[in-house]
């Protein structure tokens, strides 16, 4: 097998990988720092027979990819904070109607318009709970351009497998920085396609659980006629408004698609944790600063390691709980006022949790992290 290396930005890697994963429809609206994904999609998609659409806004972009996915497309949009806020309404429909879609999300400094060109991690909670009501969602946070590539492929596969929206969380810096990456050969990864119905069309019930919790999905035009409402619906997709049992069962099945498959979905990295007395939890590009700080601390004899959730949602609680048990202290390093911190505290048991935050549009430097660490031990 030949090794192909290329220098790419995070946004380039994301687009390249999406097409490699089978993306054939992209709809979006320009927004810094995610715009290049739209630009590249508009150029590259028609070359493979795919379609690009620039919609009138982000509501329409999310709606269009859900429509395309219902017609059988692997579809993606790309955005940042203000655009992601606008997408929530239709993202809820994707979760409710179980239409697989992927969102490439380059976080920028918020709130509101914030600073469009600077990185932040202020949307960790919005990614999980931006949509009203209980719903399933998966979010992955790569830490390098190379990982943007592999996690984008995995994002499409997770969306297709579980019929759940998947968000690829990067930030303004990872989106725009260039790294030399190895482009995996197509023989090295699997491209998952959604499970299709096999029953005769007249017997098809689009939301009937086949025992896996994930119903097979037909595409419009393939002979199966199906209807789906964004209201609580029965297995035929039709609204049911006064059935407490069905309402509860529907929501439990939706949420269960992620909760019951944590082993397959969750991923994380552990760095120098074996003998660690202290543990720093961090996600995304920032985790590389954290690793630097850990390396420096180790030279000074401080036994510290890193736990890096790659799936931020579902958050790998159980593994963190195990790791927390013999630690003196946990640290959460993040570029916000404290979001991951709350999730970490839920897993930490009796181990104290200390925040290391900086929320000014700048990556937190290793020196800053090291200093904060040393002050607390």
């Amino acid at each position: 097998m030949e090794n192909t290396y290329e220098i790419m930005t995070g946004n380039e890697a994301c687009t390249h990988a999406a097409i490699a994963a089978g993306m054939r429809f992209f709809a979006g609206y320009p927004i810094t720092p995610a715009t290049e994904i739209a630009e590249l999609s508009s150029e590259w998609l028609p070359k493979v027979g795919g379609k690009y659409m620039q919609m009138e806004d982000e509501l329409a972009s999310m709606a269009a990819i859900i429509g395309a996915s219902s017609a059988g497309a692997k579809a993606m949009t790309a955005t940042s904070g203000p655009g992601y806020s606008l997408m929530q309404e239709n993202l809820g429909y994707a979760a409710m109607a179980e239409v697989p879609i992927v969102v490439a999300y380059a976080m920028r400094q918020g709130p509101c318009q914030g600073v469009a060109t600077l990185p932040a991690q202020g949307d960790i909670m919005q990614v999980r709970w931006g949509v009203h009501g209980d719903h399933p969602i998966i979010a992955v946070a790569p830490a390098s351009v190379g990982e943007v590539y592999t996690e984008t492929i995995r994002a499409f596969n997770l969306a297709e497998t579980y019929r759940v929206p998947v968000v690829i969380m990067t930030d303004a810096m990872l989106a725009h920085m260039s790294e030399r990456i190895r482009i995996p050969d197509s023989s090295e990864y699997e491209c998952v396609d959604r499970k299709r119905p096999t029953c005769p069309p007249e017997e098809f019930k689009p939301f009937a659980d086949d025992g896996t919790g994930i119903p097979p999905m037909a595409s419009f035009g393939d002979g199966y006629r199906w209807y789906c409402s964004g209201l609580i619906h029965d297995e035929t997709g039709f609204p049911v408004s006064d059935n407490p049992q069905l309402t509860s069962d529907s929501i439990k099945r939706l949420v269960g698609k992620v909760e019951n498959n944590l082993k397959d979905i969750e991923s994380y990295e552990e760095y120098k944790t074996e003998d660690a007395e202290y543990l720093i939890v961090s996600i995304g590009l920032l985790s590389r600063s954290v690793k630097d700080a850990v390396d420096q601390a180790r030279q000074e004899g401080i036994k510290v390691g890193v736990f890096r959730p790659i799936t931020v949602w579902p958050f790998p609680e159980q593994r963190l709980a195990e790791l927390s048990q013999n630690k003196r202290k946990l640290f959460v390093c993040e570029m916000n006022e404290g979001q991951l911190y709350h999730v970490v505290r839920e897993s930490a048991g009796v181990t104290p949790v200390v925040q290391i935050t900086q929320n000014n549009g700048k990556m937190i430097a290793a020196e800053t992290i090291l200093k904060a660490l040393k002050e607390e031990i």
Binding site: P46, K51, M53, A60, A71, A75, R225, C228
Partner: protein, 276 residues
Amino acid sequence: MSEKQHVFDTFLRQDKLPHIWCPGCGNGIVINALIRAIEKTEIDPDNVVIVSGIGCSSRANGYMNFCALHTNHGRALPYATGVKMFNPKLKVIVVTGDGDCTSIGGNHFIHACRRNIDITTVVFNNNNYGMTGGQFSPTTPLGSKTKTSVYGSIDTPFDICSLAAAAGATYVARSTVYHVNMLINQIAEGINHQGFSVVEAVCDCPTLYGRLNKKGAAPDMLLGFKENAVMKAKADTMTEEELKGKIVIGNFAKRVDRKEYTAQYDSIIESAKGGH
């Protein structure tokens, strides 16, 4: 010998009837016209996708036996756009209301008109928000009483057909639920038209708009549509004063000068694949 099935048996989901709408609601008449138009065009029912948003009219696709998405308020058009764009062989129809289409979905509406993508949009215009109990919509006539304009509406209404035509829709027509045969023909023409088509069906809402404005029961409201309807060609010769309270019916646009959107994109694919 197989007899031709009645259109109600072929295209309605009989098990979902009776529908949720009030007695005399014009929405059922529009569905009645829509399924006959689909029958008339002889398109493959497996290729029909009906997309709706939220509101009374948006429940319509639930009663018809085609593929359908019942989506979010105002968003039917961008969902439909994604469906059509990815698979242009599908016949995509949007069923929407005056509020869904021209208020919360107004921006999507004008952009769909502008793009000229081959989608047929049937607007059920009953001049108010029915699902939420009768508030004024962007098509409520000036001075009309609704639950949120108890002193009379001061918001100038949109003329949906003029709006659509100005925004670039290439087939635009209006009829009423009194003029059912015209409505069937317009929807069928819209479906056959290669481009973005809009058919406005003026509908009665006897329970809310009708009652609040003393328009009588459903049959009275339909007779009102009959009395106040003016054909487009005639209306073009009338003054604004003479047109007060009238409903202009007929064709507002029928253009063949603009290329359909998915066909244009096919050319893009061709040139992108061809290299430079």
